[in-house]
């Protein structure tokens, strides 16, 4: 009997194995093409091996996972180092990064996006996309001269800079006009802006209210001018282009995943941010779960620590199983536990007890801490195995 892909699939697919193992088994069977009897033997042995390697029921997998992540923490560095490959962008690494991820911080200290391109082969195309992501302000395009005596601001635009960023003069003028709401005089590549006139406060009696331009308004205009985003995404001050194998990849300092995905030329299927909270908002909770796993794994791997991905999956699943990314700690998982005693034993003891009294809450004593506190066996491990005796009547 010949061994074909179909016949193997037929044999393997009904087996009670996880998909990954099933794939490996199919591949091995196809490569080695054993006979029918051998096939049976292999399958029996694989099933046996899988069963023997299975997790024991009642195993406290949570504690094992927590220890497996926590224990290497003592071996991690505290320092912030450069990103592997991109020397220009600083990324938090080591223990502070691990804490940051598990804390589910709203604002991570060094948000970074890795932007893949639909057509990443051409450097020029990559540069174009980079310019439409990186924030461009007027300071990048020319020189600003504040003319105090005439109460106006002159901008000497740099033509090559405009060209490089694929901007035209009318683009810039339009942006500035809509944002600043002041008239702009254009002389070649020189723009002249003057703030609106206001009624002078120090009008002498008898005179008409004189309209003047105050120095304050000029300074304010100057400040606002520098804030106007002419091109790109506001929260991304810098984009670095890097060649990874065969294609160009953009690394950004700062994240704005939602905006970046809409930029033309960006491959939305691969582009990621290192901020799980943001990924949760844009792609949903499943993606956030994977993001947490990937970020923790990357942090540990960078430190040369070897931790099985299962433990990180469990921590991540726990953080995301309610549909939002929750912190591991007082303001998240530990603070929302059902048991009053467990919460009281963790942090802010008194407040939890007082609130529980006020609300007339009930502690069902199902968890570990509660039962330790009242001095009963816990429902975990060997404490979760019961003997049921049926007395003979």
């Amino acid at each position: 009997m010949s061994v074909t892909e179909e016949s193997i699939k037929e044999r393997v697919s009904p087996l009670p194995l996880p998909p990954k193992i099933r794939d490996i088994l199919s591949k091995e069977l196809l490569e080695n093409a054993p006979g029918e009897a051998q096939m049976d033997e292999i399958i029996t042995k694989v099933l046996e091996g899988y069963t023997n390697a299975g997790i024991e029921p009642c195993e406290p997998v949570g504690v094992v996972a927590a220890q497996s992540i926590g224990e290497p923490g003592t071996q991690m560095t505290m320092r912030t180092f450069h990103y592997a490959g991109v020397a220009e962008i600083n990324v938090t690494l080591g223990l502070p990064r691990l804490i940051e991820i598990l804390d589910a911080r709203k604002n991570p200290s060094t948000p970074v996006m890795t932007v893949y391109l639909k057509d990443g082969v051409s450097k020029q195309r990559a540069q174009e996309v980079a310019w439409s992501i990186q924030k461009t302000t007027i300071t990048d395009l020319g020189e600003i001269i504040t003319d105090r005596s005439n109460r106006r601001i002159t901008i000497e635009l740099d033509e090559p800079a405009l060209y490089e960023r694929n901007l035209t003069l009318p683009d810039v003028i339009e942006k500035l006009e809509t944002k600043l709401k002041v008239p702009i005089d254009v002389i070649g590549y020189t723009l002249i802006l003057a703030p609106k006139e206001t009624a002078s406060k120090t009008t002498k009696e008898g005179e008409d209210a004189q309209k003047v331009v105050t120095l304050g308004a000029l300074v304010q205009l100057g400040r606002n001018l520098k804030k106007v985003v002419i091109k790109g995404i506001e929260s991304i001050p810098r984009v670095v282009i890097q060649r990874n194998d065969s294609e160009y990849v953009l690394y950004t300092q700062g994240t704005a995943l939602k905006e970046a995905l809409e930029v033309e030329g960006v491959d939305p299927t691969r582009t990621v941010s290192n901020h799980p909270g943001e990924i949760c908002e844009v792609f949903g909770i499943e993606a956030a779960r994977n993001s947490v796993i990937n970020e923790i794994m990357a942090t540990l791997r960078e430190q040369g620590l070897n931790v099985n991905i299962k433990h990180i999956m469990l921590a991540s699943d726990m953080m995301t199983c309610d549909g939002e990314v929750k912190q591991i700690g007082r303001h998240g998982l530990s603070g929302e536990k059902a048991s009053i005693l467990a919460r009281a034993a963790f942090e802010v003891t008194v407040n939890h007890l007082i609130d529980a009294g006020m609300r007339g809450e009930v502690d069902e004593l199902s968890g570990v801490t509660e039962n330790v506190i009242v001095g009963q066996p816990i429902h975990l491990g060997t404490g979760d195995v019961h003997l049921v005796v049926k007395p003979q009547v």
């Binding site: 997998v61 505290m78 020397a87 931790v307 433990h311 005693l341 007339g360 004593l365 506190i373």
Partner: protein, 878 residues
């Protein structure tokens, strides 16, 4: 047949609530009216704070309420009738919220009935799902407090101002606790539920205290000092204050004192009640002891690491435990622990006398407490406990009968738990077999150091003796060292050879000519008694190789093929013909080629250890580790191994070359002097996104890093594999080539936060340098080697760099400790179920299949296992 059911009582659930004033009175055994504790004769005053009805603390006396002795009587509450109601600080915020969201005249919740109904339903829903109602209740309060006119009685609402911690104002007039209480009394039950409160267990008016419970004396025992003086507990002190003010208040009130005085006293009473409950409330000064120390009142007793919850309930001090310094003993099995005789005769295990063991136990009793395998106590059938002494031991042994309990000493083979703090993972507590030994330290096989993270520079460890056979059995099955060789963290062995074990194996397996005497001597400590056929015979004298000797401790049927730690990762691997003997092949339990080093038998890496446990079981694994360590130590002794200062000697020529490399790096064509020149001329091209200064620093660091590397390589050329330090570094036993290079050639750049040392004086690091000197020497580059010795400035910079490491470690331990605590707390309720799912103890499913494949990470099952099965099956039939 009547069945004796010995089901211990279980607490099913705990219902929290507030206690009403009436309930306080009902549970009280006496009203407390006098602030004094004892009279002149030293007897407690009736209706005083030490009333004998509140319980007993003095041994010998009996409780007037329950007739129990000290220790039996749990104590009984008393009560104080407060002259005027006081706010309970813990509820101050809730009181504020309630005042703002209820009508000031009719006390109803200021929401339309429909809204109330909706909120009530949502609260029910969330409660049913087991989610918090915090945010919802928050919304009820914020919405209701915005209402200006009561929808029921039309009363115009006034703004309630809350002044921390316990004062409330409505416009200008203060809301007295009695007014608040009156209002709360009128809040209807159905409105209370909308606040998330439970009207049966927690009426809002109970948040204002009219009766204060007085905790039993057992809660606040007084201590008698050596002088005979009694020193009262902090709580008693506080209660004295409360009663005093309460009395004065009463007198003034009866005498019709002016309103101003009454208000003052009321405030003072409120202060004392507040600090009695919580002495760390912001806004008021904490109550202090006469000595100036703040009092430890109720909240302080519960809070924090040493508080009741974390310090006394979640973890306790235990009996049947010991602690002493540890020291190594390579002759012990990894499953054993050496226990000093003094410890073994103090720690006991209680056995019940039955016909089967009566003779044995009699012998223990006869030996008494001072002869080691003896016994310390017996408990007679009537429950009377007798201490065994030299005087009564013979007599007790004679009278010993079935049913008595004997507390016998710890003896060889007993299972005990062994632990070293910090207990970061489950391998920090493992079960060992006792081996009673002379001396005063706990002894353990150095191969079990890695899981405990122990060394022998004065570390202490703890021992715990379990008191039931069930517990011992469980420990033996689940916690024994051999069951924990494979770590679930990364699925590899965490127990294995360290330091000399690795060097020893490395040297042994490279040994080519070992005669019979030596071969047998090396194998002496292992269980192996036979030698294989000799490798070669010279002049009728048989010789064996080190590889053959190592093979003797491998189980038959072991097959392996991998690159050793010493592999140099050549472009083309020559496999069996490796020039460095770095390709390990083990076929049917025989080491055919390759050197055994860290990757084969080391802790954390140990491929051989890993394989043996997976294929031959934990017992074979433990046996292998035992044999391996013994063999390695014999091996290193056979070869001889030492390390001294002359091991770092390198030839004159090399020293000169190293000096030149250093000079080149600093003043040479591509040296940093040139870079600094360029920078000063402004010709240095800056890297994108970096300033000129940063670019200069980065480039200098790179050049100096290169210098260190080159000098190290130069020194390495002159230090061969026969150098002890190189052998250790290469085999992975200890140290690295970098350490060696620093000793022999050049220490290199010292850094703080990944940069050259910049701090110190204005524009320079030390007064020995010119200002704005960017040179190598001025910023912590150490040209010297540890052997030649550092110059004073170099030495200083070295200390600066070293300090950073120390600070880093100190900060890191506290941070990672907290992270660990949070992680464990968040994940501790998770458990793998029979159906392969992971659920918490309430039954909420977190994962539908553990780790997406249901495999235990310590065992593992993946591609390699399947490949092996396929290979075995298909290969076998060919």
């Amino acid at each position: 047949m009547k069945q004796q059911v010995s089901a211990p009582k279980r607490i099913a659930r705990i219902n929290f609530g507030l206690i009403s004033p009436q309930e306080y009175r009902n549970m009280s055994v006496t009203r407390i009216i006098t602030a004094d504790t004892y009279d002149d004769d030293g007897f407690p005053i009736d209706m005083g704070l030490m009333d004998p009805r509140l319980g007993v603390i003095d041994p010998g006396l009996r409780c007037k309420t329950c007739n129990g002795r000290a220790g039996e009587c749990p104590g009984h509450f008393g009560h104080i009738e407060l002259v005027a109601p006081c706010v309970h600080v813990g509820f101050a915020k809730q009181i504020r919220n309630l005042l703002r969201s209820t009508c000031r005249s009719c006390s109803r919740l200021l929401l339309e009935p429909i809204a109330k109904k909706e909120y009530r339903e949502q609260i029910e829903l969330l409660r049913g799902r087991g989610q918090t109602i915090n945010s919802l209740v928050e919304r009820v309060f914020s919405e209701a407090s915005k209402v200006e006119v009561c929808p029921y009685c039309g009363e115009h609402q006034l703004k309630v101002v809350y002044e921390k911690p316990t004062k409330y104002h409505e416009i200008d007039s203060q809301l007295l606790p009695s007014d608040i209480r009156d209002r709360f009394e009128r809040i209807p039950d159905e409105d209370i539920t909308v606040f998330g409160m439970d009207p049966d267990n927690a009426r809002p008016e109970w948040m204002i205290l009219t009766v204060l419970p007085v905790p039993p004396v057992t809660v606040r025992p007084s201590i008698t000092l050596q002088t005979g003086q009694r020193s009262e507990d902090d709580l008693t002190h506080k209660l004295v204050d409360i009663i005093r003010i309460n009395q004065r208040f009463q007198e003034n009130k009866e005498a019709g004192a002016p309103q101003l005085i009454i208000e003052d006293l009321w405030e003072l009473l409120q202060y004392h009640v507040t600090t009695f409950l919580d002495n760390s409330v912001s806004g008021i000064p904490p109550a202090r002891h006469r000595s100036g120390r703040p009092l430890k009142t109720l909240s302080q007793r519960l809070k924090g690491k040493e508080g009741r919850f974390r310090g006394s309930l979640s973890g306790k001090r235990v009996n049947f435990s010991g602690r002493t310094v540890i020291s190594p003993d390579p002759n012990l099995s990894i499953n054993e622990v050496g226990v000093p005789e003094a410890v073994a005769s103090e720690l006991t295990f209680t056995l019940k006398t039955v016909p089967r063991n009566i003779e044995e136990l009699k012998e223990y009793v006869r030996r008494g407490p001072d002869n080691h395998p003896g016994a310390n106590y017996v408990t007679r059938t009537d429950g009377h406990k007798v201490k065994i002494s030299d005087i009564n031991r013979e007599e007790l042994a004679e009278t010993l009968e079935c049913g008595w309990l004997v507390e016998r000493h710890l003896k060889d083979g007993d299972i005990v738990l062994f632990n070293r703090q910090p207990s970061l993972h489950k391998m920090s507590i493992m079960a060992h077999e006792v081996k009673v030994m002379p001396g005063k330290t706990f002894r353990l096989n150095p191969a079990v150091c890695p899981p405990y993270n122990a060394d022998f520079d004065g570390d202490e460890m703890n021992i715990h003796v379990q008191q039931t056979v069930e517990a011992r059995a469980e420990a033996k099955i689940l916690m024994r060292v051999q069951e924990n060789i494979l770590s679930p963290r990364f699925g590899g062995p965490i127990i294995g050879g360290i330091h000399d074990h690795i060097t020893g194996m490395f040297l042994l397996t490279r040994e080519k000519e070992i005669d019979k005497n030596s071969a047998l001597d090396i194998l002496r400590k292992t269980g192996v008694r036979d030698l294989p056929e000799p490798d070669h015979v010279v002049d009728y004298v048989p010789y064996w190789t080190g590889k053959q000797i190592f093979s003797q401790i491998l189980p038959a049927g072991l097959n392996l093929e991998y690159c050793a730690e010493i592999c140099r990762e050549c472009d083309v691997c020559r496999k069996e013909n490796c020039l460095y003997d770095a390709y390990v092949v083990i076929t049917n339990g025989e080491l055919l080629c390759g050197t055994i080093d860290e990757k084969s038998i080391g802790a954390f890496k140990g491929i051989v250890v890993n394989k043996i446990i997976r294929e031959f079981g934990a017992t074979a694994g433990a046996e292998f580790v035992d044999n391996m360590t013994n063999l390695a130590i014999r091996g290193i002794m056979y070869h001889g191994f030492s390390f001294g200062i002359d091991d770092e000697d390198i030839p004159e020529e090399a020293i000169r070359q190293i000096g030149e490399i250093n000079k080149d790096g600093i003043d040479g064509k591509e040296g940093i002097a040139e870079l600094i020149d360029q920078y000063e001329r402004g010709e240095l091209e800056s890297l994108p996104g970096r300033s000129d200064k940063e670019t200069l620093e980065m480039r200098i660091m790179r050049v100096l890093g290169g210098v260190r590397e080159q000098t190290g390589d130069k020194a390495g050329l002159h230090l061969g594999i026969d150098n002890s330090a190189v052998a250790m570094a290469v085999s992975g036993a200890r140290g690295s080539m970098l350490n060696l290079a620093q000793m022999a050639a050049c220490v290199g750049q010292q850094s703080v936060r990944g940069e050259r040392i910049q701090r110190g004086y204005l524009d320079r690091t030390l007064p020995h340098f010119k200002k704005d000197d960017f040179g190598a020497e001025a910023h912590g580059f150490v040209q010297a080697s540890y052997k030649t010795g550092l110059t004073p400035t170099e030495y200083f910079f070295h200390a600066v760099g070293g300090r950073e490491g120390l600070v880093d470690t100190a900060v890191r331990t506290s941070q990672s400790g907290y992270l660990q605590r949070r992680m464990v707390n968040a994940l501790q309720d998770l458990e793998a179920q029979n159906d392969g799912t992971v659920r918490d103890t309430r039954g909420v499913i977190v994962q539908t299949m553990y780790g997406e494949d249901g495999i235990d990470s310590a065992r593992g099952f993946g591609r390699e296992h399947i490949q092996r099965i396929v290979k075995d099956v298909t290969g076998a039939s060919e």
